[in-house]
């Protein structure tokens, strides 16, 4: 029976193009993740100024300018590496990819220094007050996503250095890059809410 589906008059032999499943899948995941972040952001905004005890954000938070610049410029770097792999320029690809990872690492080190200061100098932990609870959950959730992205990018970098990653996989790399752009975009929101509005 299945073979007889051929009898359809295929008068229209025009091209049948469908979107890439990797991109569609990643975009769907991003929509889902956005809802996840939305809930944490809403909780953060709702609890601004509701802590019963200190320390307050105005007392202890410093705007992480260097980390933010690094993370946002990593989006540019990964865009360049996408461009490079599409055109088969593997050396440029590796260079821009390494730059992306480096910038991401600087961001993470910045977060680590910030948290160390908050915990040991200012005595702010997740159980100190509502600010601590919402701050560490929201920033921590984002940092987890950065770490996940860095792991994926590092795997690609190792494969590329071992000559196991080539132009033919540019589509797959584009999917990872999409995720990385999303992580950057979320940081814009988190940065605005935590360091600009919430302080």
């Amino acid at each position: 029976m299945s073979t007889s589906t051929q009898v359809f008059p295929s008068a229209s032999e025009r091209e049948w193009k469908l979107p890439s499943r990797g991109r569609v899948g990643m975009l769907s995941l991003i929509i889902g993740e956005s809802a996840l972040f939305t809930i944490f952001v809403v909780a953060y905004i709702f609890y601004i100024g509701k802590s019963l005890t200190g320390p307050t954000p105005a007392q202890v938070l410093e705007v992480p300018i260097l980390g933010t610049i690094c993370l946002l410029s990593s989006s540019f770097a990964i865009w360049r590496s996408e461009h490079a792999i599409e055109h088969g320029k593997m050396r440029a690809f590796v260079a821009w990819l390494a730059t992306t990872i480096l910038l991401g690492l600087v961001f993470m080190v910045g977060t680590a220094i910030e948290w160390h200061k908050l915990i040991y100098r200012d005595g702010l932990t997740i159980r100190t007050n509502l600010f601590g609870t919402t701050f560490y959950s929201l920033v921590g959730l984002h940092a987890t996503h950065v770490l996940l992205g860095l792991s994926m990018l590092s795997v690609v970098l190792v494969l590329a250095l071992l000559d196991r990653f080539s132009e033919s996989q540019s589509e797959r790399f584009a999917v990872i890059a999409l995720y990385w752009h999303f992580v950057d975009l979320v940081w814009v929101v988190v940065f605005t809410v935590v360091y600009l509005i919430g302080r």
């Binding site: 469908l18 769907s28 509701k50």
Partner: protein, 564 residues
């Protein structure tokens, strides 16, 4: 698809269930490591039917306890555990897995694809969901934890704060509940991503979006809704675990936190969840009603638009579960109106189904009987829904048995009826054998009678003032007779379910041979053999209309001459 290896153990013999005792281990291995969408679909459905029996048994215990006043069959705490587990199981381990099981099995076949877009993600999603279920039920054994108190979770399926705080829920029961929902939530998210990617990227030639069967269309909508529905629940569960384990204060009113925030977050998930469950039921009805009325679906574009409309409206109605918490009049009015708005797209659907049946040559097979039951009951459920959407009436009826009756009318009268219809309809495709129509009629009539005895009566009990979640009541309240009637109806439904289970098993061995297309249907899954081969279609199909198999059967009167 071509870059994926053939799954291990996928032999045609195994797919047809031909097991020799010598290689049962290999057969089992084949099922466990499978990445085939058809096998995963079957696993999802069998898993859900198992938990349907478990959660159904829990409901029976609840009904035995409530049958007579001042009963001591269950203690108050065991009763709380049972209604918590009944609700959680039915929503997360029965409703969602069985509906995603249908999607797994049917969607790739309907769009002429070889498999889902991400077969391995598909297997991961199933096993995550399955593990979540085991985690939840393991709490019966391991829930006592270090504190030596508690057993299964007893906080209700919506687990309002601050009842879930460490102080009020010591032990690990609530943690198992939260972890189980997080784990199965990841599985659900994976499946939703997979279904969307499959529908967008795996359609066969000619299957434009507006030629897709409505079943597939609704699953696209449902998966999109799932993406933004299940993740807020996951976020709220993370917060709950942060509160319970790390000493956070999200829902800790002592430290400035708000218990009300949990209620909002839960229903931001909880209300769209109802549509995540009911849209697949609509999807099943969309396939069955036209085939058994011998007419094309009435108003296809309106059906698509109404489904997308329901998706968007459902995201803005959650606080109608919260009229009694004391919101402002403006907020109340907003949620009253947005809830009423749901009636418009839903009404369009009901009218379209009736218009499809109107003037058709109706075949009253068991699948169609269940769909007709669904149409009637879903209408009633919608009407009581409009009653409850009116805030002042809700203040009177909130948390009474009227609410229980309303949502069971949706979940059982609407969704479960459609699930049974779908099982009778696609069983021949999945197994190659027909389910017994005679036993099926017994199943239908007993179930429909039991359903109405139970849930019609509950409305009256609610108006008489019986609140939900109470484990017993005084004999002088005037609730005795009605409660006994409800319990009797519950047992009639249980008998019907057992007949179904018997039919389901026996038909696999003794049912009549089905052939490729037993219902004379029109969508692509019926063009391949029953059960379909591992590769689904020997030649990739090409379609030119919404009913490709109709075109094939009627080459002189094809649909594509009429469709735009």
């Amino acid at each position: 698809m071509s870059d994926l290896p053939m799954p291990i153990g996928e032999t045609p013999e195994a797919a047809q269930g031909g097991i020799r005792s010598a290689d049962w281990l290999e057969w089992l291995h084949g099922w466990i490591v499978t990445v085939d969408h058809k096998r995963l679909g079957i696993l999802y459905i069998l898993y859900s039917i198992f938990f349907l029996l478990v959660a159904g048994a829990e409901a029976l215990f609840i009904r035995i306890q409530l049958a007579i006043p001042n009963n001591h069959f269950l203690t108050a705490q065991v009763y709380n555990r049972f209604f918590t587990m009944h609700g959680t199981t039915m929503v997360f381990l029965v409703g969602m897995p069985i509906l995603f099981g249908f999607a797994n099995y049917i969607v790739p076949l309907q769009i002429g694809a070889r498999d889902m877009a991400f077969p391995r993600l598909n297997a991961l999603s199933f096993w995550l969901t399955a593990f979540g279920g085991l985690l939840l039920y393991y709490s019966f054994l391991g829930g006592s934890g270090l504190y030596g108190v508690g057993n299964a979770p007893d906080v209700g399926w919506f687990a309002y704060a601050p009842l879930t705080a460490r102080t009020f829920s010591p032990g690990n029961a609530t943690d198992y509940w939260a972890l189980a929902l997080i784990v199965s939530g990841f599985g659900t998210l994976g499946t939703a991503v997979n279904i969307i990617a499959t529908i967008f990227s795996m359609r066969c030639r000619g299957m434009t979006l507006m030629r897709m069967p409505l079943f597939t269309w609704l699953y696209l909508v449902v998966s999109g809704l799932t993406l933004v529905t299940i993740t807020p629940l996951t976020a709220a569960q993370f917060m709950l675990l942060i509160d319970r384990y790390l000493g956070g204060h999200f829902f800790d009113t002592q430290a400035g936190g708000s218990a009300l925030v949990w209620v909002h977050f839960f229903w931001i998930f909880g209300h769209p969840e109802v549509y995540v469950l009911v849209l697949p039921a609509f999807a099943i009805a969309n396939e069955i009603i036209p085939v058994f009325s011998r007419k094309a679906i009435f108003g296809y574009p309106a059906m698509v638009a109404a489904s997308v409309g329901i998706m968007f409206v459902s995201l803005g109605v959650w606080a109608h579960h919260m009229f009694t918490v004391g919101m402002t009049s403006v907020t109340n009015a907003f949620f009253v109106l947005s809830t009423m708005l749901v009636g418009i797209p839903t009404g369009i659907k009901i009218f379209n189904w009736i218009a499809t049946i109107w003037g058709g040559r109706i075949r009253f097979s068991v699948a169609m009987l269940f769909c007709l039951g669904f149409l009637y009951q879903f209408l009633i459920a919608g009407l009581t829904g409009i009653m409850l959407a009116v805030a002042p009436l809700d203040w009177q009826l909130h948390n009474s048995y009227f609410v229980i009756a309303h949502f069971h009318y949706v979940l059982v009268g609407g969704i479960v009826f459609c699930i049974f219809a779908g099982l009778y309809y696609w069983y021949p495709k999945a197994t190659g054998r027909m389910m017994s129509e005679r036993l099926g009629r017994w199943h239908f009539w007993l179930f429909v009678i039991g359903f109405h005895i139970t849930f019609d009566t509950m409305h009256f009990l609610g108006i008489l003032g019986m609140p939900r979640s109470i484990y017993t009541y005084q004999p002088d309240r005037g609730w005795n007779t009605l409660n006994m009637i409800i319990s009797v109806g519950g047992f009639i439904q249980a008998i019907a379910i057992l007949i179904f289970a018997w039919n389901f098993i026996v038909s696999y061995f003794r049912g009549d041979e089905a052939g490729d297309d037993p219902w004379d249907a029109w969508t692509l899954e019926w063009t391949t053999s029953s059960p379909p081969p591992v590769y689904n279609f020997a030649v990739e199909p090409e379609v030119r209309s919404r009913r490709p198999l109709w075109d094939l059967k009627h080459p002189h009167d094809p649909d594509w001459e009429y469709e735009g």
